[in-house]
Amino acid sequence: MNPIACTGHGLCADLLPELVGLDEWGYPMLDGAPVPGELMALARRAVRLCPTLALRLEPAAPGAGRRRPAAGSDWRVMP
C-alpha cells in the first residue's frame, strides 16, 4: 500500500476482510502476511479496484521472480 496515495475509501477491507483491517479513521491496516492461495483472486481484485491505485501485490520472498501473481502463498499485499 502506498500510504500517500491511500485516502481511506476502505474498498480493500470490504473485499478482503481476512487480510485488511481498518483503523478508527478508516485507513487500511495490513500485516504483510503472505496471501493464501484461495484469496489470491480477491486480493487481485482489491488491487485492481482501489480508487487511488494505492495497492499492489509483491512476491513475498526476494528472488521469487517476476512470475505473474499465481495462486500460492509466495505473494502478499504490500504496504
Binding site: 502506498n2 500510504p3 500517500i4 496515495a5 491511500c6 485516502t7 481511506g8 483503523d23 478508527e24 479513521w25 478508516g26 485507513y27 491496516m29 504496504p79
Partner: protein
C-alpha cells in the same frame, strides 16, 4: 612577593586546567571536529582550517576513500545511524554521474550540533562533501540549509566563495535554502525539493541512491557525517578508530540541555557513558528522567541510563538510540507528561499531511496525552492511547509517526507514577515542588505556512 603570588596563581590555573582536562578525558570529551572552536569567535577561515587539519587529500582516484570509510566503520550522524561506506558504495555502483547532498537542515529542535558545526567549521563539512563527491563520481554538491537560518547560510556561502577563489574543488558546490519543518530534512524530501517539488517525503522506492536529484544516483549525508569523512580521508580508518568503541568507532557531537549547568554542544568519544556526559555538563542532582535522542527518542530514568555507553548497540538494549545525539534531563520542577504532550501536539502538526494514519492518528494521540497531562481524561484514556499507539507506527511513507509513537510510549513508562497520580486527580511530582514550570523542551515558533522562525 608579587612574583611569588603570580606564580601561585599560574600554578593554580595550571592545576585547574589540568583537572578540567583530566575530567574531560574521563568523560570522553575530545576535539576532532571541535578543535579550535573555543578560541575562534566565528567560522574558521580556509587558511585556519588548512593549518589545523592539513591539506585536502588529492581527490581523483578516490574509490579508496569508500574503502577507508567502510574500514573506519563510520555511521550516519543524522539520526538513523546507517553505515556510510555502504551508502557511498551503493551510489558509486550506479551508472552515470552522481550528486551529493549535504544535509544541514537539523530539524530536531533538541539538537544544535549541525548548526554549531557549520557555524564554526564549514570547511570541514565542505571537504567531506567534496571528497565524497569524487569518491562516488559526483560532479555537484548541494548543501541544504533551512532558509530561516540566514546567517548560517551566509557563513557557508562565504566559505564556498573562499574555496572557489582558491580554486580548491573539482566539483561545483551550491548552498540551497529550503523551507523548514520537521519532515523537510528527511532525505527523500530534500531530493523532492531539489527536483522542484515540495519539501515533503515521497513514497520510496526508488531511494535517492537509485534515482535522486535530476534522476541521478544521489548520496545524502548529514553534515557531521561528512566532516568525519573529511578526517578519515586525511588520517585514515585506523586513526578514526582510535576513539570510540570497536562497533561504534570515532567521536560524535552531542547536544546537552535541560537540567544542566553548562548546556551546549560537546564532542565525545562514541561509547562515553551517558552519566559521564551529563556529569560533565553539570546535571542537577534532582533532575528527572532524561530524554535520549531528541523528539524521536525515549525517556529514561537517570539511574537506568547513566551507566549505558552513548552508542547504538548498548542504547538499543534499553530501547533507546543515540538519534541526533541530544540529551535532555528534565528539570525537577517540570511535569514530564505536560512536556511530552506539548511536543506531541507540535509533532502532530509537523507531518507532511500526506498519510492518513499520521494525519489523523498523531493529533488523536496528542489529544489523549493532553487529557492525561491535564488530569482530565475523557473515558478510558490509557486503553485508547494503547490502541492508537499500536495502530499508527510503521504506517507512514516516512518515519515521522513511528518517532512520535516511540516518544509517547516511553513517556508513559518513564512517568508511570505521574500517570497514576494525574488519573487519580492528585498532583504530580512536579506540582509538589511548586507550580510545574511549562514549556522547557524547545518547540520552534511557526512563521506562517507552517515554516519555523
Amino acid at each position: 612577593m608579587a612574583s611569588h603570588a603570580g606564580r601561585a596563581v599560574a600554578t593554580e590555573a595550571a592545576l585547574a586546567a589540568g583537572a578540567a582536562a583530566r575530567r574531560a578525558a574521563r568523560a570522553g570529551i575530545t576535539s576532532r571536529l571541535t578543535a579550535g572552536w573555543h578560541e575562534a569567535g566565528g567560522p574558521a577561515t580556509l587558511r585556519e582550517h588548512l593549518q589545523r587539519y592539513g591539506p585536502l587529500p588529492q581527490p581523483g582516484r578516490n574509490r579508496a576513500l569508500i574503502d577507508a570509510v567502510t574500514a573506519a566503520g563510520l555511521t550516519g550522524r543524522g539520526g538513523a545511524g546507517f553505515p556510510t561506506g555502504i551508502k557511498m558504495r551503493a551510489v558509486a555502483s550506479r551508472r552515470g554521474p552522481a550528486v551529493v547532498v549535504a544535509n544541514g537542515m537539523e530539524s530536531e529542535p533538541a539538537s544544535e550540533k549541525d548548526k554549531a558545526l557549520l557555524a564554526r567549521a564549514p570547511h570541514l563539512v565542505l571537504d567531506g562533501a567534496v571528497l565524497a563527491a569524487s569518491a562516488v563520481g559526483a560532479d555537484s554538491v548541494h548543501v541544504c540549509l533551512p532558509r530561516g537560518r540566514r546567517r548560517l547560510a551566509e557563513a557557508v556561502e562565504d566559505a564556498v566563495a573562499e574555496r572557489e577563489r582558491a580554486g580548491l574543488d573539482p566539483v561545483a558546490i551550491a548552498v540551497r535554502a529550503l523551507p523548514h519543518w520537521y519532515v523537510s530534512s528527511e532525505e527523500s524530501a530534500l531530493v523532492h525539493w531539489l527536483n522542484g517539488g515540495e519539501a515533503k517525503p515521497t513514497a520510496v522506492p526508488p531511494r535517492p541512491y537509485e534515482k535522486g536529484v535530476g534522476q541521478r544516483p544521489t548520496l545524502v549525508d548529514n553534515v557531521e557525517t561528512l566532516a568525519h569523512v573529511a578526517l578519515i580521508g586525511r588520517y585514515g580508518p585506523a586513526w578514526f578508530r582510535r576513539a570510540g568503541l570497536p562497533d561504534a568507532p570515532g567521536t560524535m557531537l552531542v547536544t546537552v540541555a535541560g537540567a544542566v549547568r553548562a548546556p551546549g554542544v560537546y564532542e565525545i568519544e562514541a561509547g562515553t557513558r551517558v552519566g559521564d556526559i551529563l556529569a560533565m555538563s553539570g546535571m542537577a542532582v534532582d533532575a528527572g528522567p532524561v530524554l535520549v535522542g531528541g523528539y524521536f527518542g525515549t525517556w529514561h530514568h537517570a539511574e537506568e541510563v547513566a551507566g549505558v555507553p552513548m552508542a547504538p548497540g548498548p542504547l538499543r538494549a534499553i530501547g533507546a538510540s543515540p538519534g541526533t545525539g541530544a540529551l535532555f534531563p528534565l528539570p525537577a520542577d517540570c511535569c514530564g507528561l505536560a512536556e511530552t504532550a506539548r511536543v506531541l501536539a507540535w509533532l502532530a502538526g509537523q507531518g507532511a499531511g500526506q498519510c492518513g494514519p499520521c494525519v489523523f492518528g498523531l493529533p488523536a494521540i496528542a489529544d489523549d496525552f493532553a487529557q492525561l497531562a491535564a488530569g482530565r481524561p475523557k473515558g478510558p484514556v490509557l486503553d485508547r492511547l494503547d490502541r492508537r499507539l499500536g495502530q499508527v507506527g510503521g504506517r507512514g511513507a516516512c518515519r515521522h509517526p513511528d518517532g512520535a509513537v516511540r516518544l509517547a510510549r516511553s513517556a508513559l513508562s518513564a512517568f508511570a507514577a505521574d500517570v497514576r497520580s494525574h488519573l487519580s486527580r492528585r498532583a504530580c511530582l512536579a506540582a509538589w515542588r511548586g507550580q510545574p514550570r511549562q514549556g522547557v523542551l524547545p518547540v520552534p515558533r511557526p512563521a506562517g505556512d507552517g515554516e519555523w522562525l
